[in-house]
Symmetry: C2
Subunit: 206 residues, 2 copies
DNA sequence: TCTTCATTGACCAACCTGGTCAAAAGGTGT
DNA sequence: ACACCTTTTGACCAGGTTGGTCAATGAAGA
């Protein structure tokens, strides 16, 4: 696992989603394997049959999910794009789609980033290093500053734009908690996102 | 407690700070009274002499801190102010000062807000209701929209401004973790905050 | 010395943890 | 019906942590 074959993918998805949820809500140490098996609707034994320890489960899950996340992002992003709003929109669309099948994916990835339990910290670091996120930061450092109006500090404006969409994402997530995942209409969310884009373009761009 | 007299306030502060820190980092359930007494440098017995239970400690602390927080805000805010940047600046200054004596205060208040442990949820709600935060929201709904440029959606602009300063505050807090509290110079932080104010005023105001 | 009150920390039962393993259930070919 | 093999179960374990107690100690004043 994962991909050790002869396990039906429906059950695999249940394990992934359960573990993702419990780990992201509690962090490594506090997350309980009992809670995970209960959430996934499987027995304790079978979890430890697939994964040799809690640590193994955690690290496998991290590797699996960050690989998948990176893959989806890479496949769909236009790496030549230099307009910050266009980049943010592309990333948002991809995140929204992932959210529907893996609701806690982004929370999990964030929680791993902030994890400081000694038992897993070193291995997390190793896995993180093996990811080529270098070009991802290049994407954001390559933004065309020429589009901003005179007298506008481009670096600060970019920071404001980033914080705005971070805040927007948090707000959407809070809303999503109080309704079923199926009720989140991608179009509605993107329309609201675009209204913020319009406001900021009108204010910052020439 | 709190204010049951015959306890020197230096020790009281140590208990407050320790409990605030541990509760804000772990939430009600996971927070351990052992960790609190260790952090405060007192014995287990004396903590349960002052507070009859963990629950009592938690609720007393919440009441004490939210009272104090509200008091400081009320005493220093100009309630006639209708310029959003001026309001945010005033609130920021007060928060910064509180941060120096009670570093985890704001984190604690936030964590209580998100707490969902059944054992304390009801009482937290009761205490929360007794706070007159109604006029606090009025402060933000009373903002002068006439200052915004034509064609700018004032409600959305206010949201952007709010997210920007929320993001800024988070960034400052992350920085603060990697240096001693004494090294945070109020003036530096306020100067940077003002540079964002300038940017947003230049972009949103007439 | 005696009394009073604040303070200590070893101790407790209850609970929860990650992990095991004998046994049951399910599947397939004969 | 049987035998054989793999998958899955959940009661069980030792180790650890929890909130809370209480007999004992210290300090201070009379």
């Amino acid at each position: 696992m994962f991909h050790s074959l002869n396990i039906d993918s429906e059950k695999e998805d249940r394990i992934i989603n359960a573990a993702t949820k419990v780990f992201s809500e509690n962090g490594y140490k506090r997350a309980s394997t009992n809670a995970i098996v209960k959430e996934a609707g499987i027995s304790k034994g079978i979890l430890f049959h697939y994964f040799k320890s809690k640590k193994d489960l955690y690290l496998s899950l991290y590797e699996h999910l960050s690989d998948m996340f990176a893959e989806k992002i890479y496949a769909r992003l236009d790496w030549e794009e230099r307009d910050i709003f266009e980049i943010i929109r592309q990333v948002s669309v991809i995140k929204l789609e992932l959210f529907k099948t893996y609701p806690d994916l982004i929370n999990f990835l964030n929680s791993v980033f902030h994890e400081d339990e000694a038992e897993v910290k070193e291995e997390v670091e190793t896995i993180r290093e093996s990811l080529t996120d270098s070009s991802f930061t290049k994407l954001f450092s390559n933004i065309d500053a020429g589009k901003f109006r005179e007298g506008i500090d481009a670096a600060k404006a970019i920071q404001v734009i980033y914080w705005t969409f971070e805040g927007f994402a948090n707000q959407q997530q809070a809303k999503a908690k109080s309704m079923s995942v199926a009720d989140i209409y991608k179009e509605d969310v993107l329309a609201e996102l675009d209204s913020y884009t319009d406001l900021l373009k009108k204010s910052f761009y020439k």
